[in-house]
Symmetry: C2
Subunit: 361 residues, 2 copies
Amino acid sequence: MVDRVYNFSPGPGTLPVDVLQQASRDVVNFKETGIGLIEMSHRSKEFMAVAENTENLLRELMEIPDNYKVLFLQGGASSQFYMIPMNLLGNGKKATYLNTGTWSKKAIKEAKLFGDIEVAYSSEEQTFNRVPTKDEYSVGQDSEYLYFVSNNTIYGTQFPEFPETDKLLISDMSSDILSRKIDVSKFGLIFAGAQKNMGPAGVTIVIIREDLLEKTPDNTPTMLCYKTHADKGSMFNTPPCFAIYAVGEVLKWLKKQGGVAAMETRNIEKAELLYNQIDSGDYYRGHAEKDSRSLMNIPFNLPTAELEAKFIAEATEVGLNGLKGHRSIGGCRASIYNAFPREGVEKLVAFMKEFEASNKA
Amino acid sequence: MVDRVYNFSPGPGTLPVDVLQQASRDVVNFKETGIGLIEMSHRSKEFMAVAENTENLLRELMEIPDNYKVLFLQGGASSQFYMIPMNLLGNGKKATYLNTGTWSKKAIKEAKLFGDIEVAYSSEEQTFNRVPTKDEYSVGQDSEYLYFVSNNTIYGTQFPEFPETDKLLISDMSSDILSRKIDVSKFGLIFAGAQKNMGPAGVTIVIIREDLLEKTPDNTPTMLCYKTHADKGSMFNTPPCFAIYAVGEVLKWLKKQGGVAAMETRNIEKAELLYNQIDSGDYYRGHAEKDSRSLMNIPFNLPTAELEAKFIAEATEVGLNGLKGHRSIGGCRASIYNAFPREGVEKLVAFMKEFEASNKA
C-alpha cells in the first residue's frame, strides 16, 4: 500500500492500519463464507456474532456494569440531543446543562423542546476556552439530570475530572470515549458517535442504566424509545452493520494495545509533546486555558492568519493533513485520537519548530 | 478470491462483486490520498465529491425532477414510519394507508401517534398474499396523503401499477427502488433503506418534493425536520459516509448495466424463470396471488415443513444461501434483487427440479 499520511482530522478521524486492512478483506469475503460483510444478513449467525463481539469488547474495555445496556444506534450523536430529553424529561420537568461549546449548545436547544432547561454554567463569552470547576455551578434540587460534554472537539477543552452530582449524570463523550479510564457506574447515560475514537461514521453508542429505560413517555415513536433497541439487542430493525463491525475491529486493536489505561498513558504523552511545543515560546498560542486542555483536540494559533494559512498548506505538503481549525475559531487544530500515532505528533512538532524558524512573525 | 455463493438474503442483500472489490481498495486508501475512505473527513473535498456523485447518479438513473430533494438519512426505513407523519401531518389531520404487510402495519402504528389514520385496504386476513387493485379502496377527500409499500419483502407481493390519487402519494420502496422504471413526479415522497437494491445497511434515501419541506410543525427536533437535511445537502451532521459511498458504487455499476430500464427487463426474466418452475406443478406453491407477485422476493412452500427444512439445508450445501422464509409465514423465500445474477436463479431452478424428483411428497 502507498504511504499513509498523518491524518489530524477531527472526525471521521484516523483509524489503525490493521483495522483498515482487515476491513478491506472482510468487505469482499467475510470469514471465507463467500459473502461480503456488507451484503450479509444482519440475522445471519456470522453477523450476530460480530455484533455480540463488539458489545462484549466494549463492555470489557470500559468495564461496563451488568445493569447497563449498550445500544448501537443511528442518527449520529446529534440525534441524542433530542432523544435524551424525549426519553428522560417531560413537560414541566427540569434538567441542568453545562454549556462548554457548540455541541452542548445544540443539545440545550433541543432539550428546551421537552422540558425546563437550566444552563448552570457557560463559557460562551470566553469563546468556550475553558470548562468549569466543581464550585462554578450548582444543580437545582428539582433537576432530573446534569448534562455535560466530556471533551469539546472544536475548542479543545476537556473535563479533567467529571462533575459530581446526586442527580443522574449524562455525558456526550463523542470525542474522548475510550481515551481514558472512566467509572461508568457514576453515569446514567453516556453516548458517543463512533467516528472519532471508535470507528467510522454511521453508528452511535449509547450506554444506558437499565432503570432509565422505563422513563419514556407513552406515545413516543417506537424507534425513538431506548427500550425498543435495548429489548432487541439493537436489532429491532436492520442495524448499520459495517459500522458496528468496524467498531469491533477497532476495539480488538485497542485491546491488543493494552486497553484503555495504556491508551490514556499514550494520549497524555502525545498531548504533552504538542503542548510543550506550544508553550515553548510566543509564536504558537493554544486556544484553551491550561487547566481545561484536551488530550484529543489541540487548537492553536500562529501570529497572523496569513501565517496560519501558510502553515496548513506547507504541512499538507509534507504529509500532515487535516490541520485546519474549525471555522468558528479559525487557526489550526491537531486532533490526536487513540489511533493517531505518536510519530505523527513528533513529526508535527518538528515541523512547527522549522516553520517558526523560517517564518518570523 | 474464493468462490462466491449465491446469496438470496432479503436484506442486507447481495451486491455486485465489482462494487465489493472497489470498496475493498478504497477502505484502505481512497484515490491514493494515503487516507482510507472510512477515516476521511466528511468535509474533505474528496468525500464531498463522493456524496455529490452519489446524489447525481441517483437523480440521473431515476430521472428525479429538479423540484425534488434527495436526502441521505440514518435510522433505517423504520425511522421514516414516524418521520413522515411527524413532518406532514398534525393533530386532527387525516392520512390514508394501504395495509399490505408487516412494514405498512408498522408504519400505520407510528402514524397513529400523529394524526387520524384511515386504513383504506387491508389484506391481513389473507396473510397479506395480495395488493389491492385501484377499485378496492378509496381515499377520503380530507386525507393529506396516500401511503403504500411498493413491494412487500416478506409476503412477496408488489404493486404492478401504482395507486393514482389527487392527494400526495407516498411510497416505501425499500425493496424495489431502482428495480423498475417509475415516474417520480407522481409522488410527494419516496423512501428506501439502501440494503436491498442500493447498497449496504446504514443509509436511507428520501426523495421529497420541495414544497413538503415547509409543512413541518414548529417544535420538531432539528434532526427530525426534513428541511434540516435538505438545506445542508445531508451534511447537517456527520453522514454515514461509507454507506453513501457504497450506494454510489452500486449506482455506477447499475448505470454500466444499462440503467433502470435494463434492470427491469432482467428482473422480469429472472422472476419468470422462478415463477415458471413454481407453476410447473403442485410441489411448489407461491405465497402471493399471481396478479400481485413480486419480481424481487419470491416466497414459496413445499408439501411439508420437513421437506422445506431439508430443501433449505441441501440448497445451502450447494451454495444457494439465505433461502429460509420469514418466520411470519415460514417456508422458503428467494430474494433476487438487481445485483442477484441470473445464473443463480438458473441454479436454483435446476436444484428445485432435482429436489422434487428425489423427494416425493
